[in-house]
Assembly symmetry: C2
Amino acid sequence: MITVQVPEVVVLRLPLYVRALTQLADDGIEVVSSQQLGRRLQMTPAQIRKDLSYFGRFGKQGRGYKVEFLMRELGQILGLDRRWNTCLVGVGRLGRAIINYPGFAPEGFNILAALDSDLTQINTPVGDHLIVQPMGNLGAEIRRHEIVIAIVAVPAAQTQTVIDELVKSDIKGILNYAPVAPQVPMNVVLRNIDPVLSLQSMTYYLRDMLEGES
Amino acid sequence: MITVQVPEVVVLRLPLYVRALTQLADDGIEVVSSQQLGRRLQMTPAQIRKDLSYFGRFGKQGRGYKVEFLMRELGQILGLDRRWNTCLVGVGRLGRAIINYPGFAPEGFNILAALDSDLTQINTPVGDHLIVQPMGNLGAEIRRHEIVIAIVAVPAAQTQTVIDELVKSDIKGILNYAPVAPQVPMNVVLRNIDPVLSLQSMTYYLRDMLEGES
DNA sequence: TAATGTGAAAACCTTCACAGCT
DNA sequence: AGCTGTGAAGGTTTTCACATTA
């Protein structure tokens, strides 16, 4: 199999497959066809098979895919078979909600440090085992804990500055919660979480739906 | 101009344009070219022009686009020139962070009701002017406040049930924060906010970057 | 001159359809 | 018999390149 550059959309769908497979495994299902998986995920069986084919041949013709096996293979491809050390920058209301969100750790994303520029926050506890550090400690903390990913929850106005500092400290991935589109060098992976943007594109479709209302 | 069905990707980008234009307007800039806008948003000028051309002819050849004008036009196309009444379902830690997030109201998304199924939460205050309602009040609250969009922040296991109730109560749009892919009828617009999914696709690229590490 | 708006070309992504394997 | 893996077809999105206009 000649390895073609994997389309980004395909990579974005892999975690969905892993999640569905995890559920199937929890339900004790051992084998699944692209058809069944497609029904569950609302996608065509062909797309699932094509997506998987970018990475290898995981199925058995006439049978389908072994759930556990495929789950593990995809997990490995995505790098979910290891822990990812992360830090949180910004411990305001949003940052605190993030650190208390119980969904990260079980998936291997461990928040090992929390930082903030607000001096009144420094040395206060946050989450159930962290102490807020001053921003000056950023580089040191990243090196000390071998942190690869930063979760950024600072005000929009400070976001680019914080991200520049993270990049200087050699961070590899950034999950940004501020409603801005920060600039990062090509070798840093950036993802934005922006509920307002989601709502603002949603309303385009709602507008038509509500046409003729009072 | 024959109106072609607007690609969804284009609709997803419009809010980005509106946001960039708002910033430009705040900076006192009156005219912008697709080139300048493209530099700011990291996209090609051609894409911006093509996107805009789905909706009309907003620019002046040789000059560019009038910032205020384009901003208003796009705002109108997206339905951002009105208020959108929303409710929050689920007032746990995440729900509380959402209700206190100061980014929704200024963009016209007003949370007018908060509901939860946890009986110990009912009638307690949340945010700075809401009282938690029991789920039984859902339909009544939606009608009373003319709520169009629901923000759902309940545990994964309850999400589909809650969303089914919302659909029955004739909700038009749903912003879901649970790490599941709920089913909704075609006439309901669903958006998911899922930071773990973002991280899990990010790691695909980080894995390669870190190859050869200890 | 400078930048838009847009057909046409190129690139990209999804779906089809079927050979081939179990 | 049933389902995968995959070239090829079909569809969609992006980019090109230039006629047009202020």
